[in-house]
């Protein structure tokens, strides 16, 4: 059973009624198949309409939904039994909020890195709600460097509210860990594909997000700050997070427009959690589409192109020609 969103409630009500009708119809008392089909079609149209016109704060709800597939859910579907998880940063600890390993997909051996959220409270406590400590980032870096040595491309899944803001995290250099990864990822000389599958939360997301191609699932988000945090700071009122959500332009479509990501991957209607296999198939297609081309690029060129990609991000103007936004 997956939970429903507020904005899905009208549909859910209709679906319940429809099921009642179906039950009656199957009892054989009366043939309602035509009516049922008609209602079903209407529901389909309504659903499509609702999900076509979602507000940003509604997308946030989907992106954060506890039932939404996180890294290991996709890993299981994409890599089947080939995934082998590796643990530890070789320095301090093993962070369950970050999952790393190696796997096979199609004809490719790859390294896998991703934030891991839980699907219930217990799992979320264990996974720290997908918020890594420095050791998580350092584990990811270790595996990326290993991937580079063994010439395996890296597949990254991004799904975090952000890097954990806590005492131990600060003591062990959360800033250093994130900054170091930004540095090092820009020089890992194998292809890196990044998939934002849920929440792309600020520096904690970007710290594993430097890649050659950046994909976002349709209802995932990527933001410099949570809408709540933004509202608290700029509106001095956390309850105005819906406004902040709109202002921040955090949807996949926005980021595509800004040229910050490469492609939006459509999700099944209702969101990836309604049909994880379908979402995974889209991701798989993106991997198998993209990797062969990237694998033919010489390592130095790959790094130069990756540098240029992030080098070009930003919008500013030069005062002397104020009209020419660069």
């Amino acid at each position: 059973m997956t939970r429903e969103f507020d904005f899905e409630r009208p549909i859910v009500e209709l679906e319940k009624r429809l099921n009642d009708l179906r039950a009656l119809s199957e009892d054989g008392q009366i043939d309602l198949s035509k009516e049922i089909k008609a209602i079903d079609d209407k529901i389909g149209i309504m659903k499509a309409e609702i999900f076509r016109t979602l507000e940003p704060w509604q997308v946030i709800q989907i992106a954060r939904n506890i039932d939404r597939p996180s890294t290991l859910d996709y890993v299981k579907i994409l890599f089947e039994d080939s995934f082998l998880e590796l643990h530890g940063d070789r320095l301090f600890g093993d962070d369950p909020a970050m999952v790393t390993g190696f796997a096979r997909i199609g004809n490719h051996l790859v390294a896998v890195i991703g934030h891991q959220k839980g699907h219930d409270t217990e799992e979320n406590l264990y996974r720290n709600f997908g918020m890594p400590h420095p050791e998580g980032y350092r584990k990811a870096l270790r595996i990326m460097k290993m991937a580079e040595r063994f010439r395996k491309p890296v597949i990254v899944f991004i799904d975090t509210p952000g890097a954990f803001p806590g005492i131990g995290a600060e003591e062990r250099g959360q800033s250093e860990a994130i900054a170091r990864n930004l540095c090092e990822m820009s020089r890992i000389s194998v292809p890196i594909l990044c998939f934002v599958i849920g929440e792309g939360g600020s520096g904690g997301a970007l710290a594993i997000g430097i890649g050659d191609k950046i994909f976002m699932l349709e209802y995932s988000i990527y933001s410099v700050i949570t809408s709540e945090g933004c509202a608290a700071i700029l509106w001095k009122d956390a309850s105005r997070s819906k406004e902040a959500a709109g202002a921040l332009r955090i949807r996949a479509q926005d980021l595509l427009e800004f040229g910050v990501i490469d492609r939006v991957l459509p999700e099944p209607i209702g969101g990836a959690h309604r049909d994880p296999a379908a979402a995974a198939a889209t991701i798989k297609a993106a991997i198998l589409d993209t990797l062969p081309t990237l694998l033919e690029v010489a390592p130095d060129d790959l790094l130069a192109i990756r540098y240029a990609k992030f080098r070009g991000m930003g919008r500013y103007k030069i005062e002397r020609d104020a009209d020419n936004v660069e």
Binding site: A163, F164, P165, G166, I167, A169, E170, E171, R172, G173, Q174, S175, E176, I178, A179, R180, L182, C183, E184, S186, R187, S202, G203, L206, A207, G209, I210, Y222, S223, V224, I225, G229, C230, I233, L234, W235, K236, E243, A244, A247, L248, R249, I250, D254, L255, F258, V260, Y307, F310, R311, M313, G314, R315, Y316, K317, I318, E319, R320, A322, V325
Partner: protein, 280 residues
């Protein structure tokens, strides 16, 4: 004062309506002109108050050697962002109040007679937040260092990312950090000076990546702000948490340096890391 005046290195005169300041540590009332003469150190408790950007530049460079670069770069408003006021208005106000177009001043200068590239963040400009312009100016600074093989010094003071620029502001972390790696690979010294406060996206990118990281005494330096941490873990933070001395103890910075020794220390570092043979 527009960018053309600043281009000549003229210093901003003190605002007559604002003659004194209270030391936030000991409460001593300090005359601004005394503060200026005393490197913005509290005469009573030696507290390092925030230092205005042009005073900082004067502190760290040989007299009249600083030449600003990229001073005419201004923020765009790519999100047409509006909170209680439009971002464009906030920017205008910040430009008026600080006589800067943005939260970092970059330039070429000399220190001990040798060339260096210097970036100094301006906390007064929207909390020193890093948007596209800050990221672009610093990246250009790093790339110029690469081109001329000059060492780089960055003085950070920032609350983090420029929220009003959304994802563009986040990406400045990537942009600046990847430029620092090029310096590393080319063995061009990069000294990062962290001043009060350096947090968020600045702390979690180039500012933590110095070959040598220096902090001023008791500066607040960290990834998450103390209030966010307290709200998250629901307990009060220990004294000295996220202060320079804490970071030194936790291995994140190389040294805590008094403002009066800052220029000499940077000179010493650059000399030791230089590729030339030292004078005998």
């Amino acid at each position: 004062m527009g960018w053309l005046d600043r281009f000549t290195g003229v210093k901003k005169p003190p605002d007559p309506s604002d003659l004194w300041k209270k030391c936030p540590k000991c409460g001593e009332v300090l005359l601004k002109k005394d503060l200026e003469r005393n490197f913005f150190l509290c005469a009573k408790c030696d507290n390092h108050l925030r230092m205005p950007v042009w005073d900082r530049i004067a502190l760290l460079t040989d007299d009249n050697s600083f030449v600003e670069i990229d001073q005419d770069m201004e923020s765009a408003d790519p999100l047409s962002f509006v909170d209680s006021a439009p971002y464009s208005e906030r920017l205008q106000k910040a430009v008026q109040n600080t006589d800067s177009f943005e939260a970092v001043i970059c330039g070429e200068a000399h220190l001990d007679g040798k060339p260096l590239l210097l970036g100094v963040m301006n906390f007064d400009f929207m909390g020193g937040s890093m948007g596209s312009v800050v990221g672009e100016k610093l990246t250009r600074l790093f790339e110029r260092a690469l081109q001329f093989r000059f060492p780089v010094v960055c003085v950070s003071a920032s609350g983090g990312a420029r929220m009003q620029e959304g994802i563009f502001s986040l990406m400045q972390m990537a942009k600046t950090s990847q430029a620092v790696v090029l310096l590393n690979k080319a063995a061009i010294p990069f000294v990062s000076v962290l001043t009060d406060p350096t947090t968020g996206g600045v702390s979690a990118s180039f500012a933590s990546l110095g070959d040598v990281n220096i902090a001023e005494p008791e500066a607040l330096i960290g990834f998450a702000g103390p209030r966010v941490i307290e709200q998250t873990i629901r307990q009060k933070l220990p004294g000295g948490f996220q202060r320079s001395e804490f970071l030194l103890q936790h291995g994140m910075i190389d040294m805590v340096v008094h403002r009066r020794q800052l220029k000499a220390t940077i000179g010493h570092i650059l000399q030791l890391l230089s590729s030339s043979n030292p004078a005998l």
